[in-house]
């Protein structure tokens, strides 16, 4: 209704290449900023802020994975392991050298990127399912290494406690303050990804995905770009791992097991491969799903089960619903939530007329 291209004439290339080329863009961004910076933190209960915080962290990870899987067409089942690399790098630096988050965060990202490039090297030779298995091996090797090398894992139970991040003496130690901390990184990740995918590098990633032979012939070094995709994607994963560590106040390998890799793949499949908005919607969806199921079960399930049985039922049902939804999306809308959103938007573009 308000979101109309009609009558918008672009007179410069930069206007034509803008991220959001409509005059209403200013208002949309302003309203979103108002909601997320002012209204939400003032009105929303601490418990729901904690859910939002988890969503912000998941957005960073999902964006990273989507760059690799959705845009470049490679696959990784080892992303949780890259997160753990970032998490333990940051935790070790924070605890042993007492470094602040603005050093440990990029350090964790860079370390994950380096490991990601190594795990991604098979992609130069193999594709698809074979690559999936190779990265799965990467996941298991990294998991095992962290768990069994006390120098990395900090010994007891392979977990390292870290202090909450602080800046200029201000400590982000409540859900409310962590909200701003994580919101900042989620926004940076979103804008960075939007820029990356519309730039020369992002175009080259899509070229590798769509036609690797033609990409090579027109001058894209596909090996370089495959590894670059692994590096960038793992950097995001590493940062995501560092954020988890600061959020929970502990680096623990159990947060980064194989199932988490699957969760993140689910996010981008459900949200939409090769789409920034899809990554965000997928991260929201997959983070909320178990919470919604739990709330539903607690209210409805107590009619049928005892409290002791409930814990089992909820975890089982969560996995079942998860699998069911992935299958549902692959069949009904392979392009995910992003596609659904675009369909709704294009319906309202000409509303109330039918054409």
């Amino acid at each position: 209704m308000f979101h109309r291209e009609s009558g918008v004439f672009k007179t410069t290339y930069s206007a034509d290449m803008a991220l959001y080329p409509l005059p209403i863009a200013k208002w949309t961004v302003a309203v979103l900023a108002l909601i997320f910076v002012v209204i939400v933190p003032l009105t929303v209960h601490e418990y729901y802020l904690s859910i939002l915080n988890l969503i912000f962290i998941a957005i960073v990870g999902a964006l990273g994975l989507n760059i690799l899987v959705g845009y470049t067409g490679q696959i990784s089942i080892g992303h949780a392991a890259f997160m753990s690399v970032g998490a333990y790098t940051a935790a070790n630096l924070a605890v042993r050298l007492d470094l602040p988050f603005w050093i440990t965060l990029p350090a964790g990202g860079l370390m994950a990127a380096a490991i990601g490039v190594i795990v991604g090297m098979p992609s130069l030779r193999i594709k698809g399912l074979y690559l999936a298995i190779a990265t799965l091996a990467g996941q298991l090797i990294i998991e095992w290494t962290i768990n069994h090398v006390p120098a990395i894992s900090g010994g007891a139970q392979a977990s390292i406690q870290v202090d909450r991040p602080s800046l200029f003496g201000f400590s982000f130690n409540t859900q409310g303050s962590l909200y701003f901390f994580l919101l900042f990184f989620a926004v940076v990740a979103i804008v960075a990804t939007l820029n990356l995918v519309r730039s020369r590098i992002g175009r080259a990633f899509v070229a590798v995905r769509d036609q690797d032979i033609a990409a090579e012939i027109i001058g894209i070094d596909i090996y370089r770009y495959k590894l670059l995709a692994f590096a960038i994607s793992s950097f995001y994963a590493g940062v995501c791992g560092v954020l988890y560590t600061y959020y929970f106040g502990i680096a623990n390998y159990e947060q980064f097991q194989l199932i988490v890799s699957i969760d993140y793949l689910a996010m981008i499949i459900i949200g939409g491969l090769g789409s920034v908005l899809g990554s965000i919607l997928g991260a929201i969806f997959v983070t909320l799903l178990p919470i919604v199921i739990r709330i539903l079960m607690e209210n409805v399930g107590s009619l049928f089960f005892t409290t002791a049985e409930m814990a089992n039922v909820i975890s089982g049902l969560r996995l079942g619903a998860f699998g069911g939804l992935i299958i549902f999306f692959l069949i009904v809308e392979p392009e995910g939530l992003n596609r659904l959103w675009r369909n709704i938007r294009s319906y309202f573009r000409v509303w109330p007329f039918s054409y």
């Binding site: 290339y13 730039s199 175009r203 899509v206 070229a207 033609a214 027109i218 001058g219 894209i220």
Partner: protein
Amino acid sequence: MDDVSILGVATLSKKFGGVTAVQDVSLEVPRGGILSIIGPNGAGKTSLLNMISGFYKPDTGRVVLDGQNITQKKPSDIAALGIGRTFQNIALFSGLTVLDNLMLGRHVRMKAGVLSSVIYWGMAQKEDIAHREAIEEIIEFLKLQDLRKQPTAALAYGLRKRVELGRALANDPKVLLLDEPMGGMNQDEKEDMARYILDVNQERGVTVVLIEHDMGVVMDISDKVVVLDRGRCIATGTPDEVQRHRKVVEAYLGTSKSGGRV
């Protein structure tokens, strides 16, 4: 390498297992000219182009572009040195718009790295705009103005061929390798494409190497024709010379039982 030829191929051979795809082929592409490679199916024409563009590594022989030996270089480096290429089966990036496909054609001329791409505003944007101007020139040249923001997957066959030509041109190549640019086209589309190829050659000064099955087009627009048969070069010359060449007639039509004239 003399000034007359821009691209030289010397005794190039390639075997796949027991099959000899190309055997001892030598040819010189005249600077600023149009050279056509013809021959029956399986003669090794596409294999030859694949070796020139670096996609196959030849078993023997060498490829020289403008005095520089490019035989062992990577395809992406060869593209950067100025060889553009289109494909027999259209190989556009179907998930991207026409504009993005063309911008990708210019990838090697651009420099933005990861950091400046992520920040975008500033360097990467300036670069994108500067190159967009060159791309717009090609869009205008190929009359693709109304298709800029269309995903290439949705385009008609003839248009996709044209976009592919544009993508190859975007790189400002010295030599353009066209693999059956008119395959599967109707007469009107063929005439359009022939006109574009002539314009590319004359207005933009690009040397063209063309593989084509339509003899009418080949004989009309080529300066020089090379005929391949079963991996070997059997004739080279002007269109007229080649048409009368005995071996060429044999390759296309076979020999009569008396071994004489057809």
